[in-house]
C-alpha cells in the first residue's frame, strides 16, 4: 500500500528499545552470561548509533555475529531447536535485527518478534506476577506501535500509553470470549521439546540417602487437596502414596521399571474419604492419593502396589477426584514372585546390619515382635532425626545403624526395610508425601515438596501389606505436626515453614489461595470445563463444532457492541482544551466580521486579523502564537494550556 514516510526517528527507536528491554528482561536470568552480554551490548550500540545519527553496521559484520551466536548456542545447549535454545536464538535474532533496523518495516517486524517473546515467558512461569509483568510489556509494545502511526503531530507519550491501554481494554471482552469458547485439545500437536520440564522438582523412581531430604528445602507446591467433608483426616493419617521401591543394590532403592498391573484386592475397614487433588506438573506419571486409593482417575491406571500412573508424563496441572480408605486389610496370599522380590537383598555388603538382623530375629517369636524390636531400637538407641545427615559411603546401612545414627526419613525407611528383609519379613519402601498445610482461608490443603517422605510396608500374614513408618518411631512430631516441628531449631528450612512470623504466614496462605484459584480457573481450564460450561447453558454433549458455532456467534455480538461503543464515542469525547479555546477566540473574531477561512492556517489568520483590527493586534498575536506552540510544538505543559484559556477568556474583539 502507500508507503508514506517510513523513516524511523529517535523517538520510535527509544520506544522500541525500551519495550524490547522490558520483554527480554525476564529471560536474562535463564540465559548464559555471554548471550546476556551480547544482547546488552547490541542494545547499547543501537542506542548509541541512534543518538549520534551514525550509520548502521555492515551486513557482513552482523552475519558474522549471527553465525558465531548460532554456534555458541549449539555449544551451550547441545541443540538449536529446544525450548531454552529456541528462546536464546529468538533473543539473539531480535538484538541483531535491531542492528539493521532502518525503516518502519523492520521496526514492525521487531514488534511482532517482541509479542512472540512475551509468550515464551509463559513456558517457564504462568504465575500471577509473571502474567502482570507480561501484560505491562504488551502494553508497552502496543504503545510503541501506536507511536509509529503519528505522521504529523506527536501528542506525547501519555496519550500514546492511554490510547494503547484503551485499545487493550476494549479488546479484553473479546479475548475472554475466545479464551472460554475456543475448542481446547488434549495433548500436544507434536512432541514437547525434551527440556520443557527439565526444572520440575519432585520425587523420582530412585531413593538413595539424601534424595528425599534434598526436596526439603523446596517450598514449591506438589499438589493441593480439597476434602469433601468439613473435617479432614488427622495429619498423622495423611500418607500420600507415590512411587513404591522394591529393588535395593546396597545403596539405592529403585521402583520396578515395569510395574505389576492389577491391584491386589483388600478390605476397607473405615469410611471412605472423598477428596480431589490438583497436582502440579512434575514430568513423571505418578498421581498421588491417600493410602489406600479406592478409585482410579480417568486416563490413569493402578498398579498392584497401588501406585496410580497417568497415561503420560504430567506436563500440565491435573485435577482428579479420589476416594480412599485409611484403614484396610488384605487377607490374600502373597504371590511367589512378589514374595521373592520383597525379600531380595544384594549378595554382599552391609554385613553388620545383616548380623544385627539375625541376632534380633533369634530373640523374637514372630514378625510383629521383630518389627517392634527394630522400632524400639530406633526409638531408644540414640537415633536422631535431622535434615542434614552425615554422608554415608560404602555399606550405608551399616554405617547409619552403628555409627552415624542420624538421618532423614529415607535413611530410616531404607535401614528398616533392609533389616526386615534380612530378618525374613517381606518389605518394600514407599515414597510420597506426608501431612500438608491446611489453608484455613479456603479449606484446602497444600502439600509441598518439603513434605516429601519415605516409609516402609511389610507383609504380615493376617493383614497383608502393612505400613510401618520408622520415622514416626524416631520423631513422632514429624508425622503428627509436620517437618517444621520435627527438625531441630538450628537446621535450615524453607522460609516460613516453621510458622514463625504469624502475619507473614497468613499473607502466604492468602497468596496461595489466590494462586490456587488462578490455577483452577485460568491455568487449569480444559476441554472438560468447556463441556461443563456448555451443559450449564443447556447444550449437552457439545462437540468442538458446537463450540465453534457458539464462539462465532458470541464473537460477532461482542464485536458489534465494541463497534457501537466506538461510533457512539464521536458524540461523547470532549474536545481538546487547546482547540476549544482557539475555537472560542475565532468565534469572537467572527462575530466582529473577521471570519477564519477553513483553509487558513493560524499564522495566516493571525496576520490578516491583526491587519484588520490593528488595535487588538497584540492580543491576537499572543493567542495565536500560544496556540501554534501548544498544538504543533513539543510537549506542552498544563501551565501553558491554562495561560491560553485565560488569554482567550479576557479577549474582547
Amino acid at each position: 500500500m502507500t508507503p508514506g514516510s517510513d523513516k524511523l526517528v529517535d523517538r520510535h527507536i527509544s520506544w522500541l528499545l525500551g519495550s524490547l528491554a522490558l520483554v527480554t528482561a525476564p529471560h536474562i536470568e535463564r540465559l548464559p552470561w555471554w548471550i546476556t552480554l551480547l544482547v546488552v551490548t547490541l542494545f547499547a550500540w543501537r542506542a548509541y548509533l541512534a543518538l549520534y545519527d551514525l550509520r548502521l553496521p555492515h551486513k557482513w559484520l552482523l552475519m558474522l555475529i549471527a553465525i558465531g551466536a548460532l554456534g555458541g548456542i549449539y555449544i551451550t545447549y547441545g541443540r538449536i531447536l529446544g525450548r531454552d535454545s529456541g528462546v536464546a536464538l529468538l533473543i539473539v535474532m531480535l538484538a541483531l535485527k535491531l542492528m539493521e533496523m532502518a525503516t518502519l518495516r523492520d521496526a514492525m517486524i521487531l514488534i511482532f518478534i517482541a509479542y512472540f517473546l512475551v509468550i515464551t515467558n509463559f513456558l517457564y512461569s504462568q504465575s500471577i506476577p509473571t502474567t502482570v509483568f507480561m501484560l505491562i510489556a504488551m502494553w508497552a509494545i502496543t504503545s510503541t506501535m501506536v507511536g509509529f502511526q503519528f505522521r504529523q503531530r506527536q501528542p506525547g507519550y501519555r496519550y500514546q500509553l492511554r490510547f494503547a491501554g484503551i485499545m487493550l481494554l476494549q479488546s479484553t471482552p473479546l479475548m475472554l470470549v475466545l479464551f472460554v469458547l475456543f475448542p481446547r485439545m488434549q495433548g500436544p500437536l507434536w512432541g514437547m521439546p525434551q527440556d520443557a520440564l527439565a526444572s520440575a522438582t519432585g520425587l523420582s523412581e530412585e531413593m538413595s540417602p539424601g534424595s528425599v531430604s534434598s526436596l526439603l528445602l523446596s517450598d514449591a507446591v506438589a499438589f493441593r487437596v480439597t476434602f469433601e467433608s468439613a473435617i479432614p483426616p488427622a495429619t498423622q493419617q495423611l500418607y500420600w502414596r507415590g512411587p513404591v521401591m522394591w529393588d535395593f543394590d546396597g545403596y539405592t532403592w529403585t521402583a520396578p521399571r515395569v510395574p505389576y498391573p492389577t491391584p491386589r484386592p483388600f478390605d476397607a475397614l473405615d469410611n471412605e474419604v472423598a477428596y480431589s487433588v490438583t497436582v502440579e506438573p512434575h514430568g513423571k506419571r505418578w498421581l498421588f492419593a491417600l493410602d489406600l486409593p479406592l478409585r482410579t482417575p480417568a486416563r490413569a491406571s493402578m498398579t498392584s502396589d497401588f501406585q496410580i500412573l497417568f497415561q503420560s508424563p504430567l506436563t500440565n496441572r491435573l485435577r482428579y477426584d479420589m476416594l480412599s480408605t485409611l484403614r484396610y486389610r488384605d487377607r490374600s496370599e502373597l504371590p511367589r514372585y512378589e514374595m521373592q522380590r520383597a525379600l531380595r537383598l544384594p549378595g554382599d555388603g552391609n554385613p553388620r546390619a545383616r548380623a544385627m538382623a539375625a541376632d534380633m530375629r533369634k530373640r523374637t517369636v514372630d514378625d510383629r515382635a521383630y518389627i517392634n524390636m527394630v522400632l524400639a531400637m530406633f526409638r531408644n538407641d540414640n537415633f536422631s532425626y535431622t535434615t542434614t545427615p552425615p554422608l554415608l559411603r560404602a555399606d550405608p546401612v551399616d554405617e547409619f545403624l552403628l555409627s552415624t545414627r542420624a538421618g532423614y526419613c529415607e535413611h530410616y525407611a531404607s535401614a528398616f526395610t533392609f533389616l526386615m528383609r534380612a530378618g525374613g519379613v517381606p518389605a518394600r519402601v514407599v515414597t510420597g508425601y506426608q501431612g500438608g498445610e491446611f489453608n484455613t482461608f479456603s479449606n484446602y490443603m497444600i502439600v509441598r515438596q518439603a513434605d516429601a517422605h519415605a516409609w516402609s510396608e511389610v507383609w504380615l500374614k493376617d493383614s497383608g501389606w502393612t505400613r510401618v513408618d520408622p520415622t514416626a518411631a524416631v520423631s513422632p512430631a514429624r508425622v503428627q505436626t509436620g517437618v517444621a516441628a520435627a527438625v531441630p531449631q538450628n537446621e535450615q528450612l524453607p522460609l516460613m515453614l516453621r510458622g514463625e512470623y504469624r502475619w507473614l504466614h497468613g499473607a502466604r496462605l492468602t497468596w496461595d489461595l489466590l494462586a490456587n484459584s488462578w490455577n483452577q480457573l485460568v491455568l487449569g481450564y480444559t476441554m472438560d470445563n468447556q463441556r461443563q460450561l456448555m451443559q450449564r447453558i443447556g447444550i449437552s454433549d457439545a462437540t468442538w463444532q458446537t463450540l465453534v458455532i457458539v464462539m462465532m456467534l458470541t464473537t460477532g455480538v461482542v464485536t458489534l457492541a465494541l463497534a457501537l461503543l466506538l461510533l457512539l464515542s464521536f458524540r461523547r469525547s470532549r474536545p481538546d482544551p487547546v482547540i476549544a479555546a482557539y475555537a472560542r477566540f475565532c468565534r469572537r473574531l467572527a462575530n466582529r466580521g473577521v471570519t477564519r477561512h477553513p483553509s487558513e492556517g493560524p499564522d495566516a489568520f493571525c496576520k490578516r486579523a491583526a491587519a484588520i483590527r490593528p488595535e487588538i493586534a497584540a492580543a491576537i498575536g499572543s493567542i495565536s502564537r500560544l496556540y501554534v506552540h501548544l498544538r504543533y510544538g513539543r510537549e506542552a505543559g498544563s501551565d501553558e494550556i491554562n495561560e491560553l484559556k485565560r488569554a482567550v477568556a479576557v479577549f474582547r474583539a
Binding site: P3, Q126, M175, S573
Partner: protein, 338 residues
C-alpha cells in the same frame, strides 16, 4: 527479429487481457461505486469506506496463528490469553481504523494554476464534524505521493495534494484516495473521492533571457505608439534585442554602459505579443513557451500588453488579470492544422 516477435507477443497479450480490463473496471465500478465526478462535498459514510489488512496486518495474522499453534502444543493457558488478546486487538484495530475515517467530509478546494513541470497542488478540505481528533489521515492522487494530516475535532483542515505536471493544458485531478492506517498500522482503510477539479497548466516559460519584442516591425507588432505622448520612465541595462530607438545614446556617448530607455505606458503604449513574432522554425510548444516568457516579462514591466494567437486576439491591458488571461489562452491553445 526477436524484437518484432516480442512486440507482437505484447500486442497479443494486451489484446488478450483487454476484455478482462473491461471486466475489472466493471467490478471496480460496482464495488467502489464510482460514479460521475462530484463538485460537492462527500461524506465518508460506511459504504464509502473500504478496509483491508495492510501487509503488516497480514504479518500480524501469521504471528498470531503461530502463537496459537504454540499455545495449543504446549497447552499454555496464558499463551491462549495473550494470543486471543492480540487477535482481539487486531479486531479492534479494524474498528478504530474505520472510525478514524468515518464521518469526515471531503470537499474540493481551489487549485492555483502552475507552469508545466511544476508541482500542482490540489487542495482538499477535510472537515471533521465530530469531537474526535483524527490522526494521520493520508491523501494521495493515483497512489503516488501521500500527504498526512491530523484533523482535530470540530475543525476543517485543507490539504494540498501534490501532482507533478508534465504538459501544458488542463490537468484533471482524477481520483483522490483518502486513507488511514492509524492507530496500529495493521489495517488500511480508504475512501475514494472523485471531484471534478482540474488544474490549469501554463506552458513552461522559456528559460534564459528572451527580450520582449519591443522593436517596431513591418507587420505592426511590438510596441505601437498610441495617440498620447510617451512618458519617459527610467533606464535599465541593455539587453540584446532592445530596439536601437530606445537606447540612451547620450548616456552611451558619455562612456557609460548601454542603457535602454523605459517608458511608462499608459493606454497609449501597447506591447503586442504576437505568435508571428516567434521564430517559425520553432515547434508549437516552444513558440508557446516563448510567448509565456514574454507574458511574464511584460507583466513584470508596466506595459499594457495584448496577445495575438492564430484565431485569438486578447486586447491589450495590464495587471494580474491580464497575465492570467494570456497564460490561460496559451495553456488552452490548440494548434490549427498547420
Amino acid at each position: 527479429m526477436t524484437g518484432s516477435t516480442s512486440s507482437r507477443a505484447a500486442t497479443f497479450l494486451s489484446q488478450l487481457t483487454t476484455p478482462f480490463r473491461g471486466l475489472r473496471s466493471i467490478v471496480e465500478r460496482w464495488l467502489f461505486q464510482f460514479g460521475n465526478p462530484l463538485t460537492a462535498t462527500i461524506v465518508l459514510v460506511q459504504r464509502r469506506i473500504f478496509i483491508l489488512p495492510s501487509r503488516y496486518g497480514l504479518l500480524f495474522m501469521c504471528a498470531v496463528l503461530m502463537m496459537l499453534t504454540g499455545s495449543i502444543n504446549y497447552n499454555l493457558s496464558l499463551g491462549f490469553i495473550l494470543t486471543f488478546l492480540l487477535a482481539s486487538l487486531g479486531v479492534s484495530a479494524i474498528l478504530h481504523t474505520f472510525r478514524n475515517l468515518a464521518r469526515l467530509k471531503i470537499s474540493p478546494g481551489k487549485v492555483t494554476p502552475v507552469f508545466a513541470g511544476d508541482v500542482a497542488r490540489f487542495t482538499l478540505l477535510i472537515d471533521n464534524p465530530t469531537y474526535l481528533e483524527r490522526y494521520s489521515i493520508g491523501v494521495t492522487l493515483h497512489r503516488r505521493e501521500s500527504v498526512y494530516i491530523d484533523v482535530p475535532g470540530r475543525q476543517s483542515i485543507s490539504v494540498g495534494v501534490p501532482l507533478v505536471t508534465t504538459r501544458r493544458g488542463v490537468l484533471p485531478a482524477g481520483r483522490f484516495t483518502v486513507f488511514t492506517q492509524f492507530p496500529l498500522g495493521l489495517c488500511y482503510a480508504w475512501a475514494y473521492a472523485d471531484f471534478d477539479v482540474e488544474c490549469l497548466v501554463y506552458p513552461r516559460p522559456e528559460a534564459g533571457r528572451v527580450p520582449l519584442p519591443l522593436a517596431d516591425s513591418n507587420d505592426g507588432g511590438g510596441v505601437t505608439r498610441g495617440a498620447g505622448q510617451e512618458d519617459f520612465a527610467g533606464l535599465r541595462s541593455y539587453q540584446p534585442g532592445d530596439s536601437p530607438r530606445h537606447i540612451a545614446w547620450k548616456a552611451a556617448a558619455r562612456g557609460e554602459t548601454l542603457l535602454t530607455k523605459q517608458f511608462s505606458g499608459r493606454a497609449d503604449l501597447e506591447l503586442w505579443l504576437d505568435w508571428r513574432h516567434t521564430p517559425e522554425h520553432m515547434g508549437v510548444e516552444e513558440r508557446l513557451s516563448r510567448l509565456a516568457r514574454w507574458v511574464i516579462d511584460a507583466h513584470g514591466s508596466t506595459l499594457n500588453f495584448g496577445l495575438r494567437l492564430p484565431g485569438l486576439t486578447l486586447a491589450a491591458a495590464s495587471g494580474h488579470a491580464q497575465r492570467e488571461r494570456c497564460l490561460e489562452a496559451l495553456a488552452l491553445f490548440k494548434a490549427e492544422t498547420q
